[in-house]
Symmetry: C2
Subunit: 496 residues, 2 copies
């Protein structure tokens, strides 16, 4: 077969995968937003069938052969990178015996049910045996890869190319030395969360604020959609179809505000990928850390700054009359309130990465053998107490709080902290190109959006994180930006 024939087949293959993926994406979006619950069994059965069809398509030996062959040929740069990424992905699973792989997948499916039961009854002992098996089977499955690095090293690389134990150790050690003391100092001040933050705000008022924010962020209904779901998420359909969801909590109205900004950060990334990549692997292959860096950038770097709100805070006060008695400074202080707590997804900006660090340290220990599953709930509680000064009284708000381990997603957590850290580095680069505060005060988010597109979004998954950081910020990942940002942010609290 000629080089060109391979390429034509590759393109046809990608279109086929894209069609099935869009169908599954749409079924999933539908299920999480409006689908009636009683239709779930039938819907799930049919979605599983289609997933099976897609699995057959992507694991067909002819596909593996073609990618292998193309990886030795020279195409344009984008295609070369795409093929290299696809080959790397295929190499991860191609040598696993089918029975091992099936057993692993069955275990993961069962583990989710066990975790749900264990979490709802706060019973770590129930989850412990299957967690042990999950680690063992993950090690087994990974052992078939022709990769000499340690298992956890490989897992970290799966979720974030270029980031391994050495890099994460350096990153978290910096957080431990620089941030943990700040948390303890702030905790000692016993600053109360402002009362207005838990006052009841009617859902239609919250919806209007969300609409106004979408407008501010140039997030249009023409190529987007804001729906409701139990947990906020964003969903990429195609270059011109990127949707988000929010949820409205009556007694925590800033929750929907930051969920919207966060998800629009993801949606804007997907929506600004070079349209020519629509339907291609390269469109969606950006790392978890890079994606999170865009949502965190909008949510924290911009959305929690005074300049963001300054120009239209009076409008927000009109939409939410409760805020008439809350000054802009009080509002900004409230949305940046620091308070050590037990649940990662509810944590503020300063304490958040420490929640992640606890998970990283435990995962590392579980895979290098220095930790076992025995008493992991206590290990967890000890670490949380050490870093945050609070202690979970049960496993449900401790070691069992996250779904990830039940899905064998070891190595995923660190990317959450990395996203925030990357976002601080992007911010420093953006500042060199424009006066960010002035741009926000001018309600000219489009200018920032264009910068993000040009520097980051348009490339989709073409570049690895370190490459992209180097291109945009002239240096590879440097956690100092993040630490400086956090320190600067809480300075006035520490000094108060």
């Amino acid at each position: 077969m000629t080089k060109e024939q391979y390429l034509l087949e590759h393109q046809a293959y990608q279109e086929k995968v894209a069609a099935y993926s869009l169908a599954l994406t749409t079924l999933s979006w539908d299920a999480y937003t409006i689908a009636p619950k009683k239709g779930a069994p039938y819907r799930n059965k049919m979605a599983a069938f289609l997933s099976g069809e897609l699995f057959s398509i992507t694991t067909d030996p002819s596909v593996i052969e073609r990618i292998e062959a193309m990886s030795h040929l020279d195409y344009d740069e984008i295609t070369n990178r795409e093929i290299a990424q696809m080959k790397k992905e295929i190499d991860k699973t191609r040598y696993i015996p089918k029975d091992v792989y099936v057993a692993y997948n069955n275990l993961v499916r069962d583990a989710n049910d066990v975790w749900e039961e264990a979490k709802s009854t706060s019973n770590y002992e129930l989850f412990k045996p299957i967690l042990k098996k999950l680690i063992e089977q993950t090690k087994l499955v990974m052992s078939y890869r022709k990769d000499s690095r340690s298992i956890y090293e490989q897992l970290l690389d799966d979720y974030e190319t270029n980031m391994g134990i050495k890099e994460y150790d350096a990153f978290f050690s910096k957080l431990r030395s620089d941030i943990v003391p700040l948390i303890h100092q702030i905790k000692a001040k016993n600053i109360e969360r402002p009362k207005w933050m838990s006052a009841k705000v009617p859902l239609d008022q919250q919806a209007k604020v969300v609409e106004r924010l979408a407008q501010f962020l140039d997030y249009s209904k023409d190529s987007g959609q804001i729906s409701l779901s139990v947990h906020p998420f964003s969903q990429d359909f195609s270059a011109h179809d990127n949707r988000v969801t929010v949820r409205y909590l009556e007694d925590n109205f800033t929750s929907s505000i930051f969920a919207l900004i966060h998800e629009v950060g993801h949606a804007t990334y997907n929506g600004q990928v070079n349209e020519a990549y629509d339907g291609r692997y390269i469109r969606k292959s950006m790392t978890f850390g890079l994606h999170e860096s865009q949502s965190r950038f909008l949510e924290n770097m911009l959305g929690r700054s005074k300049a963001f709100w300054e120009s239209f805070y009076t409008e927000i006060q009109d939409l939410v009359p409760l805020l008439k008695t809350v000054s802009l400074d009080e509002f900004i202080s409230g949305i940046n309130h620091v308070q050590a707590s037990l649940i990662r997804i509810e944590a503020d900006e300063l304490t958040y990465p420490l929640h992640v660090m606890v998970r990283y340290e435990i995962e590392k220990g579980l895979f290098d053998g220095s930790l076992g599953v025995e008493n992991l709930d206590q290990v967890w509680a000890d670490k949380i107490e050490e870093y945050l000064g609070v202690r979970p009284q049960n496993a449900s708000v401790g070691v069992l709080q996250d779904v990830h381990w039940s899905g064998a997603m070891f190595g995923y957590f660190p990317t959450y902290a990395l996203g925030s850290a990357y976002s601080a580095q992007w911010m420093s680069a953006l500042r060199k190109d424009m006066d960010v505060e002035e741009t926000l005060r001018n309600q000219d988010f489009k200018k920032i959006k264009a910068w993000l597109k040009d520097k980051i979004h348009t490339h989709g998954g073409v570049y690895e994180p370190q490459e992209l950081l180097l291109r945009v910020t002239q240096e590879t990942f440097n956690p100092q930006y993040y630490v400086d940002y956090l320190k600067d942010k809480v300075k006035h609290i520490i000094e108060s």
Copy 2:
């Protein structure tokens, strides 16, 4: 292959078709409700790809062979009927040469664009040549069927089994003799449409009425969903997932009321089909006329009756304060207002079937050669004037108003009138089993719903219309019920 092996293969085939169908259904629902418009080109391309996959699956020679083989074997009654229906469907297209079929499909696709342009510019001359081609190519495609009946006879049968020219001639001739005079008598009285019907009603008030009606009709969010779309429709996903859409017109609030009741009529039918048929051909093979008979039953037989509203009209008045000055009798009179008009989909119950009759007479003429496309706009206008006493001043509100002919859906229209006529026959049967008015006044729609399930819905597409009518009403289709119902309904207007 053994009889049992065929059956197993048949079942696997049906599950596969069901999975692809659900994906396409979900994509379509998404597109018509919330999908961002700029995502349409990509979405349409991917949906077309998946449609192609489904087409390949259903037209695979092995499928045709299996159905053929199974049609000579004896299974349970349901399977026998299902196989017979599938064979009938396959026989319609299997002998058409591929190039003829492709040319036909291309023509239909092009015709839609031409029709849209012609309609928006009210230019029948633009549509005329392609309408001529559509008729010719339909005749050509149909000529490959091994069926000795006339083309139009076959087309009518495609949309409504058991109904042919003889039956429709009898039906429409009855409408012509009995209903047309009534329309002219009422027209002469110049009764004005009540002003409150076009008063502005805020959309949130309309939405609350729709919610209340859904509750009255036992239409639950657990297995249903009410969304918004440009044109109201219902969509069957599975036994426990049947959705509807409405639209809210500020100055025509009863429009959303009857759209909701109508679509819930369809959804209730689909939702009450025997759950064991989920994913099978037999689940969805009820005729167009039967389906429309269920939507019309709820909309007209029940929804426009005084008994329907009597028990909760004061609640509706609370939801729509405008109605505080409209008595129940005035409300009932308003929603049954008769007024000859030009547009079929806006017509009242009495004039509606005459709109359909015009289309039937024209289609019949086009296919038996007694009519050509030349001056069809004038032929149309003459007939509308003769039956309804009003005359379209341009083709956009005349011959070009409906999409059907541009889609080569000749033979479809008559089922619309048939649905209403069937519904009157169902009503007469229901009355033998319960006091319908009392049941409605007791807000016990569940009792009627259970009757519909037991008599009609549970069977899905198992029975042909005449069989089902005979089972439930002890006679085959009898248009007298419909004519009597209409006459009785307008008697007080005629006599006033």
